[in-house]
């Protein structure tokens, strides 16, 4: 059995606010295998970003992880002291964010920012490129470390398709376009060859043609480096370009998860079906959109049962009272819905073992 890179079990991240406890992530479990891309889809406030921040150990106050396990290559991250997490961030797991303009430091040159994590992880045993333990006796001024970090950074910039990489190392972020900045972010994230890359809406702030370039780059680098990617997005188009499996979240819970084709072609949860029916299809005007009625409920006042019952077209009193559990309806395809579990599997689908 292949060992998962990331194994999250019953993760719960709550925010303790004045208005009550907000269950941002509420019992999320999933696994991510080597070289795989898992898409996390949902609307704003569904907990997809908070899941990623929980993995990185970067949940902002007043939030904290209240329960669950996050195993990165077998090592549980929950409750680890910050010092140890820092050793893993950048080297074993890295994150890229939506807006490359605000995530890069405007007053530092690009080179300094790209080399930072290599300099930090050089010789601490987490980065294979610096596997020989660094000691100040062999390299008293740290010059060797600096040189290797610089060379690796130039190599990374070249890899992410930045022209004239050694010159661009001296540039400031504002001298670059949005697409270039996102390439820099990717170079920083992948500089220490992490096993896990968390990408939070990496192309949302970019134009379509630039987005296509970045998606292409991510696909290429993943093939080359074998990184596992957790891709957070609201865009089913991006998901279908990049992901092997998809996890749909609503109000802090996973409502449906399965292989890409199953989610896109035979979605079973009413929310997934609603989301897919809300997306305009390119160049096709022969239909009318079917929006999901209403809005996402307030997270501090969720109904006791299924959180989607307030907007669901098929919900009844039972749904409102009892929260549904994820059930496997066909191989690897899990749905959390009372109505679906009751229905027989569709013809042609495998029988769950």
């Amino acid at each position: 059995m292949l060992q998962p890179v990331l194994d999250v079990r019953d993760l719960a991240t709550y925010f303790f606010t004045e208005r009550g406890v907000v269950r941002a992530v509420d019992g999320v479990s999933f696994r991510l295998y080597p070289g795989e891309t898992l898409g996390v889809v949902g609307e704003s406030g569904c907990g997809k970003s908070m899941t990623a921040l929980s993995i990185m150990g970067l949940v902002p106050r007043p939030g904290r992880i209240v329960a669950g396990e996050i195993r990165l290559m077998g090592e549980d991250l929950v409750g680890k002291p910050d010092r140890e997490l820092r050793r893993l961030r950048g080297s074993r797991m890295a994150m890229i964010f939506q807006d490359p303009l605000t995530t890069l430091n405007p007053v530092l040159r690009v080179g300094q920012q790209v080399t930072e994590s290599i300099r930090i992880h050089y010789g601490d045993g987490t980065w294979s490129g610096g596997s020989r333990r660094w000691s100040w006796l062999a390299d008293p001024l740290g010059l060797r470390r600096r040189r290797i970090a610089w060379e690796r950074a130039v190599e990374m910039l070249d890899k992410v398709g930045i022209p004239a990489p050694s010159e661009r190392m001296r540039a400031y972020p504002h001298e670059m376009s949005g697409g270039m900045r996102q390439r820099i972010m990717i170079a920083i994230a992948l500089s220490c060859s992490p096993a896990l890359l968390l990408a939070d809406e990496p192309t949302t702030a970019l134009d379509v043609t630039i987005q296509a370039q970045i998606l292409d780059l991510m696909r290429r680098l993943q093939e080359e480096m074998g990184t596992s990617i957790l891709l957070i997005t609201h865009d089913f188009g991006v998901v279908s370009e990049l992901c092997d499996r998809v996890m749909v979240m609503y109000a802090g819970k996973v409502v449906e998860t399965g292989p890409l084709d199953a989610i896109l072609n035979t979605p079973r949860h009413p929310y997934t079906q609603g989301l897919l029916a809300s997306i305009p299809r390119l160049g096709d005007r022969s239909y009318r959109l079917k929006p999901i009625e209403g809005t996402v409920p307030e997270l501090h006042a969720l109904p006791p049962g299924c959180s989607y019952c307030t907007r669901c077209p098929v919900a009844d009193e039972y749904c409102a009272a009892v929260a549904p559990q994820l059930k496997e309806i066909s191989p690897h395809h899990h749905v959390a819905c009372h109505k679906v579990a009751a229905a027989p599997a569709m013809a042609g689908e495998g029988v769950p073992s």
């Binding site: 296509a212 305009p280 390119l282 160049g283 809005t295």
Partner: protein, 342 residues
């Protein structure tokens, strides 16, 4: 059945909005270094010679990447900016020469919906004040305003009982509905919708698109619908104009544009859209290199020259800007290679 405003109305020959040769330049402040070197002040060519017709009850989609000038074009058409050159006719009346007072009268006919439902509503005003303001300006008696606002709220799918609430008490989608109610308060004929759904979640986006369609059918509106999202544009538009660096490069009926895009930029744009269920599917995929050049003193010839991937491109493209030429009825393209003017 798809709703077709053009078919329902039998569009009259005279377009509602007629834009000719419209230019909007913004000066960049010249520094002492520029003066020392004898350089004149530099200009951002945000909109650089645009011809456009918008018909009654029609939705014209305007698509392009950020910085291509689509918002500037829309605002210049409403004369929120003073155009550098060109003419704008609304229902046959030239707008560029109107005085501010006359323009204010004209704005009763032309309104705008903005992208950001958080920034475009005054947080210190109630819904009644926000939606009622255009009515107040147009001289509707105060006594009637409250009743009118309540009607408008109902029309855009909000409860009239929310009339005394403040913007922060609403969700993003509801705020966008308030913005729409405000635009429709004065019964306009022409509405500019500048990225009206970009800030919204997918499910809410669909609600607002449906609402805009229903209102168009009901009130006979013409929309200039701006978006960077090709799927949204293709869904709402009757005709689509593709903009690149201040110019319109292609203009065609929606179906035609997606079935046979002619301009290399349009082809690249359409092929770049990530499509649901497209993984592993073979399709033409054009990856453009680089990003658009800066609109500060842009290239002389074809604006797309630096990123163009056509084998036919040559010196003519680099030096002579192509005109928007009609290649088949209703389908206009600004490309030497396509129009055969190389």
């Amino acid at each position: 059945m798809r709703w077709t405003p053009m078919a329902a109305a039998g569009a009259p020959p005279e377009p509602l909005v007629q834009v000719r040769g419209l230019k909007q330049y913004f000066p960049l402040g010249s520094t002492w270094v520029d003066r020392l070197l004898g350089r004149g002040s530099r200009w951002v060519h945000a909109v650089d010679g645009v011809d456009l017709d918008i018909h009654h009850r029609e939705t014209l989609g305007l698509v392009g990447e950020s910085g291509c000038g689509k918002s500037t074009l829309a605002r210049t058409i409403l004369r929120l900016y003073e155009p550098t050159a060109g003419s704008i006719k609304f229902a046959g009346r030239e707008l560029t020469t109107l005085s501010q007072m006359e323009m204010r009268q004209m704005r009763r006919e032309m309104q705008m919906i903005f992208q950001d439902p958080f920034a475009s509503l005054n947080p210190r005003r109630t819904v009644e004040q926000i939606v009622g303001l255009p009515l107040l300006i147009q001289g509707v008696p105060r006594a009637d305003i409250r009743r009118r606002v309540a009607e408008l709220l109902e029309k855009v799918g909000l409860s009239p009982s929310h009339i005394d609430r403040y913007p922060h008490q609403f969700s993003g989608g509801q705020r966008q509905r308030i913005g729409i109610a405000r635009a429709l308060a004065v019964n306009p004929r022409f509405v500019v919708a500048d990225e009206p759904v970009s800030a919204l979640d997918v499910s809410i986006q669909a609600q607002i698109l449906r609402l805009l369609q229903d209102l168009q059918a009901e009130m006979g509106l013409a929309y200039l619908f701006i978006s960077h999202d090709l799927a949204v544009i293709s869904y709402v538009s009757d005709r689509i104009a593709v903009m690149y660096l201040g110019r319109i490069v292609e203009l065609a009926p929606a179906e035609t544009l997606f079935a046979e895009p002619l301009h290399p930029y349009t082809r690249a744009l359409i092929s770049a859209v990530p499509r649901v269920g497209s993984r592993g599917q073979v399709r033409e995929r054009i990856l453009l290199s680089g990003s658009p050049p800066t609109p500060i003193d842009p290239p002389k010839g074809c604006r797309f020259y630096s990123r163009c991937f056509l084998k036919e491109k040559n010196e003519t493209c680099r030096l002579v800007a192509p005109d928007l030429k009609e290649v088949t009825p209703g389908h206009r393209v600004a490309c030497h290679a396509v129009a055969g003017t190389l």
